[in-house]
Amino acid sequence: GCGSTSDSSSASGSGENGGSVELTNVSYDPTRELYEAYNKAFAAHWKEQTGQDVTVTQSHGGSGKQALEVANGLEADVVTLALEGDVDAIKDAGLIEDGYTEEFDNDSAPYTSSIVFLVRKGNPKNIQDWDDLLRDDVGVITPNPKTSGGARWNYLAAWYYFEKQGQSEEQIKESMKTLYSHVLVLDSGARGSTTSFVENKQGDVLLAWENEAFLSLEEYPGEYEIVIPSVSILCQPTVAVVDEVVDSRGTRDVATEYLNYLYSDEAQRLEAENFYRPSNEEILKEYTSDSESRTITEIPEDNKWIVSDGFELTNIDHFGGWTEATEKHFVDGGIFDSIYEEK
């Protein structure tokens, strides 16, 4: 009973009016709520523009894992992943053409984010910064950098902190090892970690996407607090059209528009409301507060949730871009592996 033709290839032309089209968006873990909202907006937009009904099928999971599944045959028209490095993996498999980062604005990152700490109400362990994670009484929750994009950002942010402390590479590795030895649960995706921390009450601190942390604040008002470390990293989730798939399914137009529309004002606001930082400076400002407090206990009434000052954000360029960073830290036998191997 195997071998029926896949039903995801049933795009019925992109005729001027009427008809329908299906699109598959393979994304990373925390964007579930964002794309649920965005897909509605986009459907309306596309209907208006072409008269076609568009149905978007979502798939979420650890970003790295998602990328590999796409590379391995999961038929995604577009990927909206946690980092460029993951899209590169798909590119390396030959599914995406070179130069995809130039295809859309802002290096094909329609929204950005950063890494923050989520702690329990009242911050009982008084966790303020990265070095607090080295304390023996602190249990840390973060996903597996091998499979999760967020986890890689977490890792690099921590690395950068220790670097800033003036530690040598050996010392940094030592610190990282200590940090990871405090990790209680190493899930395969950001959402898995959030569940472990929030629902299953594991650990004292969750290293989280900013958006994920705010979402928890929203879902569990009064139960958690966000602590912004003194140093973090600007996360640039990257989107791309999967050329091989759209070409074979004839969905390039809608797929391209799907990603393009992420930069529209409507979408940018939607992203901000889902706690992603819009790439549109104007809209970014609408949500930026002037507070300098690095502890956030609730979502501000005025919806200005973005704290812009009082801490330093590095970015991937500091690590020489994703190719280099992956090569050094995350490949098999990279630094991350060595952190585990020597136990």
Partner: protein, 296 residues
């Protein structure tokens, strides 16, 4: 090699026997031990098996009936139920066909390679579901030599419904044959020989002579196969691609809800799965009880 070894592999659902004979009499002498053991068993089963069931149901209705209904009638929930049922039905059909033919050839004929075949039939029982998923990824994925052909024929197997069905078939593959083979082995082949001698054809022999012997074993095999197929998580998870509404079976959808902070939804869908499985188990008991009664 594993033909024999797995003989006791699949649990037998047996109707509790009433004849106690000697044992009962002896136990009269040591009521204390008896009740101690019964109590131990009851507590163990209550905590290990009943409590999780109760937990699922209670959590499902924690927020009342309305959210429950919403959760289980959600578009994606219905899709996942449909997919699960599809995969289960196909797996049961394939495995029933396989089970019947396999047990027929193994118990009614002598041939070379029989041992190997029975070993291979049992193999999926001991293979981790993850590995079960993995082998299909390897066989049909992009890096497989088959991929270009599949691609040009527009056939998707992994990260699509066929992969899910395949994985489900694999993990439940031996369930039915393993129930039937011991019954047929015990029954021997005299009756079939007698029928063949009288000139009966294969189908007649099967329908009139063999089938009545195996019907309860077959029913039990189907029940186990169904229950396991509906609940399969690991193998399907590897192959699914988690496309919401397309390749999410119920267990995967439950995971998705669970991770989307929708615990009510997760447990609501779980409760459906639990109830379906319990219905099947009960149905089977009733059918078997009735059938056995009729036979007497």
């Amino acid at each position: 090699m594993s033909t024999q070894s797995c003989k006791a592999g699949l649990p037998k659902l047996s109707v509790a026997s009433d004849k106690e004979g000697f044992a009962l009499k002896q136990n009269e002498q040591s009521g204390a031990v008896k009740w101690l053991l019964i109590a131990f068993s009851a507590v163990f089963l209550a905590v290990m098996l009943v409590l999780p069931l109760v937990y699922v149901l209670i959590t499902a209705f924690r927020e009342g009936i309305q959210p429950y209904l919403e959760a289980v009638t959600d578009k994606y929930a219905l899709k996942s139920i449909q997919l699960t049922l599809e995969a289960t039905v196909i797996a049961v059909i394939v495995n029933t066909v396989f089970g019947l033919f396999a047990s027929w050839s193994i118990t009614k004929f002598q041939f070379r390679g029989k041992k190997i075949i029975s070993t291979l039939i049992d193999l999926p029982l001991t293979v981790s579901p993850i590995i079960a998923g993995l082998i299909y990824v390897l066989t049909f994925g992009r890096q497989s030599f088959l991929y270009p052909y599949l691609k040009s024929a527009h056939i998707s197997i992994i990260y699509a419904v066929p992969g899910i069905v395949l994985a489900t078939i694999f993990v439940t593959f031996p369930f039915i044959s393993r129930e039937i083979i011991p019954v047929l082995t015990a029954a021997g082949k005299d009756e079939e020989e007698a029928a063949a001698l009288m000139g009966a054809g294969g189908w007649t022999i099967f329908r009139r002579v063999t089938f009545p012997h195996i019907k309860w074993a077959l029913l039990y095999g189907i029940v186990l196969c169904t229950a396991r197929a509906m609940g399969e998580f690991g193998a399907v998870s590897v192959l699914s691609g988690h496309l919401r509404g397309k390749t999410n079976t119920m267990p995967l959808y439950i995971e998705l809800l669970y991770q989307g902070y929708d615990f009510t939804g997760a447990f609501a869908v779980s409760s459906i799965l639990v109830v379906m499985a319990i219905i099947i188990l009960v149905l089977r008991s009733v059918l078997e009880y009735r059938g056995r009664k009729n036979e007497e």
